[in-house]
Each structure stands twice: as C-alpha cells, then as structure tokens.
C-alpha cells in the first residue's frame, strides 16, 4: 500500500516538474492559430482609440485582434524586418510588426491592397500598434 502511494506521488511530482519545465521553455506563442477576440475594420479600432484611449486600452490591449484594412505603407528596416501600416482615421493608422514566420507572406503585400491582419493589440502612440502579426487573407 505504502509503495503504491509512493509511486503515485512520484508520478505526480514528475508530471508537475515536467509541466513546469514545459511552461518555462514554452516558445513565444503564434497567433496564427489563436481565435481572435475581436474582428473589425482598421478604421473602427483606430477611431475607438482616438475617441477614448483608456477604454480602448481596456478593451483591446493584449488581445488578439483581426483587422481588415488598406495597406497605406510598407517599409523594410536594415535587418529586413517589415513594417506595414494600415489606413485608419485621418493621419492615425495601425502599425503592424510581423512574427518571424509571417515575414515572407507579409512581403507580398502591396500598398493600396486590402488585407486582413491578425495580431496582438498593444495600444496607441501616433498609430495603433499591433505585434506578432500574421497575414490572414491577402485577397489574391
């Protein structure tokens, strides 16, 4: 009987420790498989931020958001990382940073094209900023 308890305890401890190690080493999650918390046009999310930054922060910050909009600008930095800005309201848009695996697909985007981008919303500076973005559908 004691042996059985000991065995059960050991299994539990091993399971617990392995789960801990798994969590500790869990790589950065990709949003490509995540269900979006919000799906909306790029213009709407920007105008919600412009109207009331605090309530928009509470609603969207850290959430997986899927936005549809027109590519206003696409630039590449010195390391070849892409920056895509979607049109929003007036001069404010949505600046998107893509996850490494999504760079190739993002590179096919053209200015003026409509696109659906999913990423994690982080708030607004001059533009609303989304990180870890993936291209959902580039309408081609």
């Amino acid at each position: 009987m004691k042996k059985k308890i000991f065995l059960a305890l050991s299994i539990m401890i091993i399971a617990g420790v392995s789960y801990g190690i798994y969590l500790f080493n869990k790589p950065h999650q990709s949003v490509s498989k995540a269900e979006p918390d919000f799906q909306l046009p790029s213009t709407s999310i920007v105008s919600e931020y412009e109207k009331d930054e605090n309530s928009a922060n509470q609603k969207f910050n850290g959430k997986v958001v899927e936005v549809t909009g027109i590519v206003a600008e696409k630039t590449k930095d010195e390391q070849g990382k892409l920056n895509v800005t979607l049109q929003g309201e007036d001069i404010a848009g949505i600046g998107c940073v893509f996850e490494p695996a999504a760079q190739l697909k993002a590179a096919t985007l053209a200015e003026g094209q409509e696109v659906k981008i999913k990423g994690i919303c982080t708030g607004i500076l001059m533009d609303v900023v989304m990180v870890d973005c993936v291209v959902v559908d580039n309408n081609q």
């Binding site: 969590l23 500790f24 080493n25 869990k26 790589p27 950065h28 999650q29 922060n57 910050n61 850290g62 630039t75 930095d77 010195e78 990382k81 920056n83 800005t85 600046g95 940073v97 994690i120 982080t122 708030g123 607004i124 500076l125 001059m126 533009d127 900023v129 990180v131 870890d132």
Partner: protein, 188 residues
C-alpha cells in the same frame, strides 16, 4: 512691390526651413537586457515600434513606446514582464522628453556621426526620473537620419520590483539600447 515679393519669399523660405527641422520615426527599436551571470537564460526583449521626434532647431527630443509591444522569445517571460514587473495594464506607455545638450556641436550641413548627450525626463511604470544618456546622431544631406544610444536604468528608480526568489537572476540595472532611423516630418 518687389519689396513685398521679397518679404513673402523670405517668409516662405524661413517657414520651409523650419518645417524641415523636425524628424520622425514610428519604427524605433528599443532593446533591453536584464541578464545576470546567474540567470538561467537570457532575459531580454525587443520593441520595434517606438515613436520619436527630434527638432533639429532646438535639439528637443521626445519618444514614446508601448510596454506590451516588447516581444520576448519565451512567452512566460513576456507574461511575467507585463504582469509582475512593469504592470503594463496600469502603465501602458513609457515616455521620454528631453534635449540634446550639445546640439550646437552637431553640424547639420556636414554629413557624419556626431557624439551626443541626451538629458530629460523618463517616465516608466508611472515613475518619472531624470535620465542622461550618451549616444550618437547621424547627419546626412542636411537631415538627421539616425540616433543611437546605450544606457542603463536602475529598476528601483522606477519602482519595478524584483521578487526576492529571483533577486540574483534578474539584473537590478537594465541595459537599454536605442536605435532610431529618422524621416523628415511632413510639414502640416
């Protein structure tokens, strides 16, 4: 009549030069490293979306970034950073407002990379502190095209607490690298 035209022309050129004096980036890179020799892994994060404006006529520089836009290799580290250390939900932004103290020694009509010192108020985790940082300013074709800086921030200055269990595994001073590439700001 000629005089009026001259005055108008002068006014136009002056405003034009003034309009050219501001430079902007929305894709500034900020990197931080809190690794210590006893850390079990690298503790670092990258933010590719800092916004910054330099006014070359006054040497004023401002920047802002979103804390949640820091990306980490490990998702648990990102979670801890946002929830336990910088409390991103309560304090979503970090900002800096200051001046290039040696703007007069930066010659905008001569291409080159100039040493610069920036001094100003940094707000992080809801705390504001004066920060002085060394760096460089790159001038090309009469425009400021880049700015770089490396400096250290004492976490306790900004009331960012390190739990005692990991006290020797997280650096008390964050090494910060700033790498900004500027575009002339479109005059409104």
């Amino acid at each position: 009549m000629k005089k009026i035209l001259f005055v108008i022309a002068l006014a136009v050129t002056t405003t034009a030069t003034f309009g050219q004096g501001r430079f902007l980036t929305k894709n500034g890179k900020i990197y931080f490293d809190c690794t210590t020799p006893s850390s079990p892994e690298k503790i670092d994060g990258t933010n590719d979306k800092a916004t910054s404006v330099i006014d070359a006529s006054t040497g004023a520089i401002e920047f802002a970034l979103l804390m949640k836009a820091f990306v980490f290799e490990k998702s648990l580290m990102q979670e801890h950073f946002n929830e336990n250390y910088v409390e991103s939900d309560k304090f979503p932004k970090a900002t800096f407002k200051g001046n290039i103290t040696n703007m007069s020694s930066i010659n905008l009509s001569k291409d080159g990379t100039y040493p610069a010192t920036v001094k100003g108020q940094m707000t992080l985790h809801g705390e504001t502190k004066e920060v002085t940082a060394p760096g460089t300013i790159t001038v090309k074709g009469g425009a400021i095209t880049a700015a770089k800086s490396e400096f250290k921030l004492l976490l306790s200055d900004f009331k960012v607490e390190i739990p005692s269990v990991v006290a020797d595994k997280v650096a008390k001073e964050a090494k910060i690298s700033v790498d900004l590439t500027f575009q002339p700001m479109a005059a409104k």
